[in-house]
């Protein structure tokens, strides 16, 4: 039915099957959209946020998807600026994942603010001293960059490509791409960093506050670094999952290995920096405000020292150790474990820097307020996941996302009609959701 749109040299399942398998995803999407409109029309009383938890699940989701989407800028940087040419085989996918992550982040922000109709005041009445302003500007600009990076891929669709203008546009954009990628890296450095700065500058909150250089607290650099380190892991993880679902090898192992190795070393250095930062904070920064290290991990129903261990050891030291060893990253199971742990590690880090910051009491006469999200918050957080799955599925089906696919999966054109269709539609599999959520 839609044969004309499917890239040459690859095979896709019949359209009805594809659409049917996406059904459950669409249901989640609609559920999320309903919740989104409830939040817009009825206000944020639909959430379980409160005056102690002004930031909650959504801001965590924002920080996390942006960290995970960091694979796009870092891979781009490696590919276009550093010249790791091999990564051209994964860059499209990395850009796609990045595009999904960043568009999701912007959508969540648009739901999260109390007055969405005035959201643009953040640009118009910008306070340049606010980390959030920096976030908003860089995020939006970088989303523009991602769109520019994603656009040529769309233009490469068989039908679109037939329009001469688009063909040339795509070609020209590829030519200029290093400049765009450089700009993207510049912007990413600042918004990833400023997201870290969001928590780090809170000098009223000893749990979050960090010293730093000039106006930038250490968390600024730690966030950029961790996004660069962990983002590619997420790209690898999603690519692996896509391979599982499509039951095809889509990217060659040496590409994975290269990215994993770089990611591993980034992670190893990051986690060392993080440990030093934590140590300094625990023995110098926080005590200078009168709060002892263990105060942050006791006297409450949830936050124990386990969360720090989970973040740093389980989600940092272990995956880094796996990825920096040749054996580790070339053993598929270990690689998978490493990237999953890494994704957990960075997600926990973002959780801690948002939700635990809100939870820790500062006034001596206040306790730990506890929070759990309302269904509306959960639904709107799953909304981008569903949307992401759809975008990956459609991109995979109609766009040449994986340059190595045709080579790795040669098809007999004669038997095209009858070939067993293993399709992207299975991306709808629920396995994807928790990984990205």
């Amino acid at each position: 039915m839609d044969d004309a749109l499917i890239p040459k040299g690859v095979k896709r399942c019949p359209l009805p099957e594809f659409l049917m398998k996406l059904g459950p995803v669409v249901v989640v999407l609609i559920w999320g959209i309903v919740a989104m409109f409830m939040c817009w029309f009825k206000g944020l009383n639909q959430t379980n946020m409160n005056d102690s938890y002004g930031f909650a699940l959504w801001i965590w989701a924002d920080l996390t998807v942006i960290a995970l989407g960091g694979g796009a800028f870092f891979t781009g940087l490696l590919r276009y600026i550093i010249g790791k040419d091999k990564l051209k085989n994964i860059i499209n996918f990395a850009v796609l994942v990045g595009f999904i992550c960043y568009s999701s982040a912007l959508l969540i922000l648009a739901i999260d603010i109390g007055q969405p109709l005035r959201g643009w005041f953040i640009f118009w009445h910008a306070n340049v001293h606010s980390m959030l302003t920096e976030v908003a500007f860089c995020l939006t600009c970088y989303f523009g960059v991602l769109t520019i990076e994603y656009l040529p891929l769309v233009l490469e669709n068989r039908q679109v490509d037939q329009v001469s203008f688009f063909h040339h546009l795509s070609h020209n954009m590829h030519e200029v791409m290093p400049i765009f990628a450089a700009t993207g890296a510049f912007l990413s450095f600042f918004h990833q960093g400023s997201l870290g700065g969001v928590a780090g500058v809170l000098f009223g909150r000893p749990f979050a506050f960090r010293e730093g250089i000039l106006i930038w607290p250490w968390t600024f650099f730690l966030f950029t670094w961790s996004a660069a380190a962990y983002g590619p892991c997420f790209t690898i993880m999603l690519a692996k999952i896509t391979e599982k679902i499509t039951k095809k090898k889509l990217i060659k192992d040496d590409v994975y290995a290269l990215l994993a190795k770089i990611s591993g070393w980034m992670m190893a250095t990051y986690i060392m920096a993080k440990i030093i930062d934590t140590w300094y904070w625990a023995v110098v920064t926080a005590p200078s405000k009168g709060q002892g290290f263990m105060e942050f991990y006791s006297d409450n129903a949830f936050y124990g020292i386990w969360i720090l261990i989970l973040e740093i050891v389980v989600g940092g030291v272990i995956p880094a150790a796996i990825l920096i060893t040749r054996k580790g990253r070339s053993t598929p199971a270990l690689l998978m474990i490493a990237v999953v742990l890494a994704v957990i590690g960075v997600s926990v880090n973002r959780w801690v820097m948002v939700l635990q910051v809100m939870a820790v009491p500062v006034l001596t006469f206040e306790g730990w307020p506890m929070y759990y999200p309302s269904w509306q918050e959960v639904a709107t957080t799953l909304l981008p996941v569903a949307y992401g799955i759809l975008l990956v599925a459609f991109s995979y089906r109609y766009l040449p996302v994986f340059p190595q696919e045709a080579e790795l999966n040669p098809i007999d054109l004669e038997s095209d009609e009858t070939a067993e269709s293993v399709t992207a539609s299975e991306t709808a599999d629920a396995k994807l959701s928790p990984a990205k959520a």
Binding site: Q115, L117, R118, W120, F121, Q159, Q162, V163, F166
Partner: protein, 741 residues
């Protein structure tokens, strides 16, 4: 084909680009933002000329002067009146919330006649003429049947022109049953009457005292005139005046005091006598005063010395005997020591033995009618109306015994014994009350022993409420004739509770009536007119304002101008003339109540082991616990350790809770001999083990959604305990059982 696709894509992209570049989306974005800044459903208060109007607050007996800020004809804020003799600019939390009562949905909008069952809250609007005619018809009917004495009125106050008009109406009509709601005023009036022979209000020269022993008085909870007490407390802090607070719970007053002495509840009177014992033993009393101006001292001191040794008092009260001795010495050694009582806000009467014991301490120190002491303040004498000419029916009616038994041989000195009324109604058949008027009171909520009350209520054929608000009593009445609320009307406020100078405040209308209401003074006059002579001729005034004018005479204009009248240079009578007892002396053991001293403690209702704990009420300044319900602002300030959603939290000591297996915030059932309620538990180190403390002022069923259904009414769990000597309701708590669910 090719061209089509191409042109389509070009059209879409070109269109998008064109729209973006046009001013349209930008203008729209801007307009939407502006719209969001001016949402039509977010009110914009009207502007107008600012003015200020002074009046007197009538939400409690405090008598504070308030200044209402107005914008145009709207009242927007209530503030304390600067320079006012009672509160000098200060204001309490309830006074501040007055405008929520004025404009709130709890107002009764017009005369309402019940259509459904009582309490069903189904009403029919009726006109004033119709409503008054209906009441007059009922009354005429009763009078015709020689049942005029079966008309009773429960009033929150007496002494002012409106309650006096009501009392006069009843007199002319032929009923002695004007009954004031109980408060510590009853016991203090009786104390002054018995020991000093005075018909007076109690006044405390509190600002000039230098050592305060408070037997459970909520100095900072709303006792006396609340703002005055708050201010006095600050003066004490500045001057280093010591305050000793004696009560079983760490109240706000206890927390602010210099020493908090937790005591077994109900034994405060014993402690007073224990202190007296030490003072007598050590001969620390003021001999000049005691020797010259008192009578019965020898007998009294002998009794006290024999019976109230520190050892005994320690056993009874739980307070260390050395503490008792120390306290007694510090008290006696102070220059101007002052002992006060009346639990919490003083919303209950209390036992006369206890009041007399505490007052005796003051007498021992000679600080009666002198600086820093207790003063007998003569009631205001502004009302000089001609004697009512009673016809035969009225005389016959007035000869009848009051329904509450006050003034009978048994309760000679009591003036009002409202707690006895339900029982008496239930005893008679038909009911001894055929028509009940309720004025500035909410007995359906404030009276204890609800089972008895409800039974009695059902037996009263006709109940008329004059309430401005849909309170519990109004909701369970047959007819509501809503009064203007206090910011809409004239009324004299004849005293400020506990104030040591004769004082009259004047409430003045600061806004025009917001609803179809009528001043109760006018309602009474119109009723009298409708009944015709002889009732009518007892009221020679055109309307209520005319009555006020006539009452105050040449002072009326000045009073209107200033808003209050105070005898600022008032000095209580010299001791030689102050005591109007037969002996012209202060009576330690008044002949009429010889047994009072033996009756300093009243036992709580209920027995162990069925009720192993003791439930006590506590008052909070943030909870209006009189006849007014908490407005939304005040309810908002109530901590979540008192009220959580609609659940009330009772305070229990952690050890007590532990022995019951109940932890913080957990639900429990609280059972007393008088009722049962589901509560939650708040653990509090500031309460004596073995007790359960419950806030008063919650558990309303009427008013609006901001108040109704929140918490439990303490009065539902307790019943009256009659003081044998005085007849007053001396209940201070009740035995209780708390069990986990």
């Amino acid at each position: 084909m090719k061209m089509d696709r191409r042109s389509f894509l070009s059209f879409v992209i070109g269109g998008a680009a064109g729209t973006t570049l046009s001013p349209l989306p930008w203008k729209l974005t801007d307009d939407l933002a502006i719209w969001s800044q001016n949402w039509p459903w977010t009110p914009v208060p009207e502007k107008g000329e600012v003015s200020y109007a002074n009046t007197t607050c009538m939400l409690c007996p405090g008598g504070c002067g308030i200044t209402v800020r107005k914008v145009g004809d709207r009242a927007v804020k209530i503030e304390g009146t600067k320079g006012h003799p009672v509160n000098n600019g200060g204001i309490c939390i309830l006074g501040l919330s007055g405008l929520q009562l004025l404009y709130g949905p709890t107002r009764v909008p017009s005369p309402l006649r019940r259509t459904g069952e009582r309490g069903e809250n189904r009403w029919q609007k009726v006109s004033w003429d119709e409503a008054l005619a209906w009441v007059a018809e009922k009354l005429a009917d009763l009078r015709g049947k020689r049942l005029s004495h079966t008309v009773a009125c429960i009033s929150g106050t007496d002494g002012g022109t409106v309650p006096r008009l009501m009392e006069r109406f009843l007199t002319a009509f032929g009923s002695p049953n004007f009954i004031r709601t109980p408060s510590m005023r009853d016991s203090y009036e009786m104390t002054l009457h018995l020991m000093q022979g005075a018909q007076a209000s109690i006044g405390f020269d509190i600002e000039n005292a230098d050592f305060i022993v408070s037997f459970g008085s909520g100095i900072l909870e709303g006792w006396g005139s609340p703002v005055r007490m708050f201010r006095a407390n600050s003066v004490w802090k500045e001057n280093g005046v010591k305050v000793v607070q004696i009560e079983p719970r760490l109240s706000n007053t206890a927390a602010k005091s210099d020493k908090w002495l937790p005591i077994h509840p109900g034994t405060e009177g014993a402690l007073a006598l224990g202190l007296a014992h030490v003072i007598l033993k050590e001969s620390l009393y003021r001999k000049d005063f005691v020797g010259t101006h008192t009578s019965g001292f020898d007998r009294w001191s002998k009794e006290v010395v024999e019976e109230w040794t520190p050892e005994q008092v320690e056993t009874v009260t739980g307070i260390d005997k050395s503490t008792i001795v120390d306290l007694a010495k510090s008290f006696a050694n102070a220059k101007k020591p002052l002992a006060i009582c009346g639990r919490g806000k003083g919303n209950t009467a209390g036992g006369i033995g206890e009041f007399m014991a505490v007052h005796s301490l003051n007498a021992l120190m000679g600080n009666i009618n002198r600086k820093g002491g207790v003063w007998a303040v003569p009631g205001s004498d502004h009302i000089h109306w001609p004697e009512v000419e009673m016809d035969a029916v009225a005389s016959a009616g007035m000869q009848q015994t009051r329904i509450d038994g006050a003034g009978t041989d048994k309760f000679m000195h009591a003036r009002h014994l409202l707690h006895r009324v339900p029982e008496m109604i239930n005893a008679g058949d038909p009911s001894l009350v055929q028509a009940l008027f309720v004025l500035d009171a909410n007995p359906y909520y404030t009276l204890s022993d609800k089972a008895l009350l409800k039974k009695a209520w059902a037996k009263i054929p006709f109940i008329l409420s004059f309430s401005s608000f849909m309170d519990e009593t109004a909701q369970n009445a047959d007819l509501i004739l809503p009064n203007h609320m206090y910011l809409e009307r004239y009324e004299d406020v004849p005293y400020a509770e506990g104030f040591n100078k004769p004082f009259i405040g004047l409430a003045k209308p600061v806004v025009s009536p917001q609803f179809d209401t009528l001043h109760t003074g006018d309602a009474i006059l119109r009723l009298a007119k409708a009944l015709g002579d002889p009732v009518e001729k007892a009221f020679p005034w055109e309307d209520y304002e005319g009555c006020l004018d006539d009452t105050f005479g040449d002072q009326w204009e000045e009073l209107q101008e200033i808003g209050y009248r105070v005898e600022s240079d008032f000095e209580p009578g010299s001791r030689n003339t102050a005591f109007e007892t037969a002996s012209r002396k202060f009576e330690f053991i008044p002949e009429e109540s010889k047994d009072a001293a033996k009756n300093v403690m009243v036992k709580a209702e209920g027995e162990e082991p069925a009720y192993p704990l003791v439930l006590i009420p506590y008052d909070s300044p943030r909870l209006a616990s009189g006849f007014i319900g908490d407005p939304p602002f005040m309810i908002k300030t109530v901590p979540d350790t008192v009220l959580k959603e609609n659940d009330l939290l009772v305070e229990v000591h952690p050890k007590t809770a532990q022995s019951l297996g109940i932890s913080e915030g957990k639900p429990a059932v609280l059972k007393t001999p008088k009722g049962e309620a589901r509560v939650r538990v708040h653990l509090f180190e500031g309460i004596m083990p073995g007790l359960v403390a419950m806030p008063t002022g919650l558990g309303h069923q009427a008013y609006d959604g901001y108040l109704a259904g929140k918490g439990i009414n303490f009065n539902d769990l307790i019943g009256p305990v009659e003081d044998e000597v005085s007849g007053l309701d001396a209940a201070w708590g009740i035995r209780a059982k708390l069990s986990r669910v």
